[in-house]
């Protein structure tokens, strides 16, 4: 019955597979196994790299058997999203409507089949600035929960992304949950992504979290995907928006402050193209966020 598959059909390099049943077990495995071991969440980022042998691991620790990491739980002023929540489930959940930029982002991450396996935790932990959730969490000032040998700790989104493919998790830590603040009154959010085709990474994308008070912008967060080794904020655009009554002209004006960011070039676009697209994405995201804030869409 079983025919052995050898040679060319084995894309990834050989590794030892572990399927722990608890986070504690996963942490212990990471501590023991050393630098050749990596966590497997949905596999949407890791397995393609392994198939191309861009990464060769000695050990893979699969989080898929651990119960309780895929819950979305409302709390006091926040919603806690389990790290293993699949993108498709996040897209369908109430938090993706109350924080509309989450729904915007999930609907443009990869494609429906990949969204059935890819997880928010994997998307964040991979440290790829071309992934969409890092800029979202930065814009939301999310708090990330990690568990290691010494217990659980909280990492602010602003501190989480260290460098290209490098996040603030220790090698023996597991990201277990992400806490996002529930919307405040007058808040609107949006995420706008420019991609060449469905399933592609962003040429550039912008997240906007805008709060209106008495018709004027009282708080603004504007962040970007795929302009740099980590997601970036634009304090200049945010400052330009503060206090203004946002209309098409004032929003367009504010986004020209993007000049403070010098994007990198990558396979998809040169710095000049990214600069233009990032500005346009920011303009659209801010306008949509303002519309949602006015319409009371998010609550």
């Amino acid at each position: 019955m079983s025919q052995w598959v050898t040679g060319a059909d084995m894309y990834p390099a050989a590794f030892t597979y572990h399927a722990p049943e608890s986070v504690g077990e996963a942490v212990e495995l990471l501590s023991q196994l050393g630098p050749g071991a990596k966590l497997l969440a949905g596999g949407a980022s890791l397995i393609p790299l392994m198939k191309l042998r861009l990464v060769e691991l000695t050990d893979v620790v699969d989080l898929g058997r651990i119960k309780g990491l895929d819950a979305i739980e409302p709390g006091d002023g926040h919603v806690r999203i389990g790290a293993m929540v699949r993108q498709a489930d996040l897209l369908r959940s109430p938090v993706a409507r109350s924080l509309a930029l989450l729904g915007d982002a999930c609907s443009v991450i990869a494609d429906p089949s990949v969204r059935n396996v890819g997880t928010i935790g994997g998307n964040l932990s991979h440290g790829d600035p071309a992934n969409d959730h890092p800029a979202i969490m930065l814009a939301l000032d999310a708090r990330l929960h990690a568990r290691g040998p010494a217990g659980e700790r909280t990492i602010a989104a602003a501190d989480f992304n260290v460098d290209l493919l490098q996040v603030a998790l220790e090698p023996d830590e597991v990201l277990v949950g992400i806490e996002v603040p529930t919307p405040t009154a007058g808040q609107g959010t949006a995420y706008v992504k420019f991609e060449r085709q469905v399933g592609d990474f962003a040429l550039a994308a912008a997240a906007a979290v805008i709060t209106l008070d008495g018709g004027r912008v009282s708080r603004a967060r504007v962040t970007f995907t795929n302009l740099a080794p980590t997601p970036v904020r634009s304090p200049a655009i945010e400052a330009a928006l503060l206090g203004c009554e946002p209309d098409a002209a004032s929003i367009a004006e504010a986004t020209h402050a993007l000049v403070e960011i010098d994007p990198w070039s990558d396979l998809r676009a040169t710095a000049d193209v990214k600069r233009a697209m990032a500005r346009a994405a920011a303009e659209r995201a801010i306008r949509l966020a303002v519309e949602r804030a006015r319409g009371g869409v998010e609550s």
């Binding site: 598959v5 894309y11 050989a14 590794f15 397995i47 393609p48 699969d62 494609d111 089949s113 399933g199």
Partner: protein, 179 residues
């Protein structure tokens, strides 16, 4: 290296095997189980020719290890026909000429299946979104969308498969060269 004994329910039948941990699900299905209806079309998780259903959800079997499916349920294109009767999706791709070379077709059908099981009457945009992770180089997608919507209508009992021999759409046209 490690090997694992896995037991996966494939098309309703428990299948057991000992596999290397790095064996991709698509290769398990094709090479170990001999279910070659699921295809490999790219290296980059882009094309969707490998799409199967895992616990009722469309997944790309090229980007999953067989060991991850231990204890789970997998459905492939081979599992759609029951007692020699084609599934409405399979009928639909025949009725509406949803394929030319056929390489993307099993993946298209397995991507559409969970949609039709959840949504009795998806509009064109919804169908196109459901197959947006599946690439076709032949058809231009319009006939694929028609095939899926025909299948939805068949599942609602609104249309029935025509006799293949009497199918009026595909009778040869009489032209100057006689074909």
């Amino acid at each position: 290296m490690s090997e694992h004994s896995i037991s996966v329910r494939v098309n309703g039948v428990a299948r057991a095997a000992t596999v290397e941990s790095r064996l991709l699900l698509v290769h398990f299905l094709r090479e170990v189980l001999g279910l070659t209806g699921t295809h490999v079309g790219c290296d980059t998780t882009s094309c969707g020719a490998c799409t199967v259903n895992l616990d009722g959800r469309a997944v790309k079997s090229c980007t999953m290890f067989a060991v991850q499916t231990d204890g789970h349920e997998v459905r492939t294109i081979e599992g759609l026909e029951t007692d020699d009767v084609l599934h409405p999706l399979q009928e639909g791709f025949r009725e509406q000429h949803g394929l030319q070379c056929g390489y993307c077709t099993p993946g298209m059908i397995m991507a559409a299946l969970p949609l039709l099981e959840a949504n009795a009457d998806p509009d064109e945009a919804t169908v196109r979104t459901a197959i947006s992770g599946n690439l076709c180089r032949c058809t231009g997608y319009a006939q694929i969308v028609n095939s899926i919507r025909w299948a939805a209508a068949a599942m609602r009992g609104e249309v029935a498969a025509t006799d293949a021999d009497a199918d009026p759409v595909w009778q040869p046209l009489a032209g100057p060269l006689g074909y």
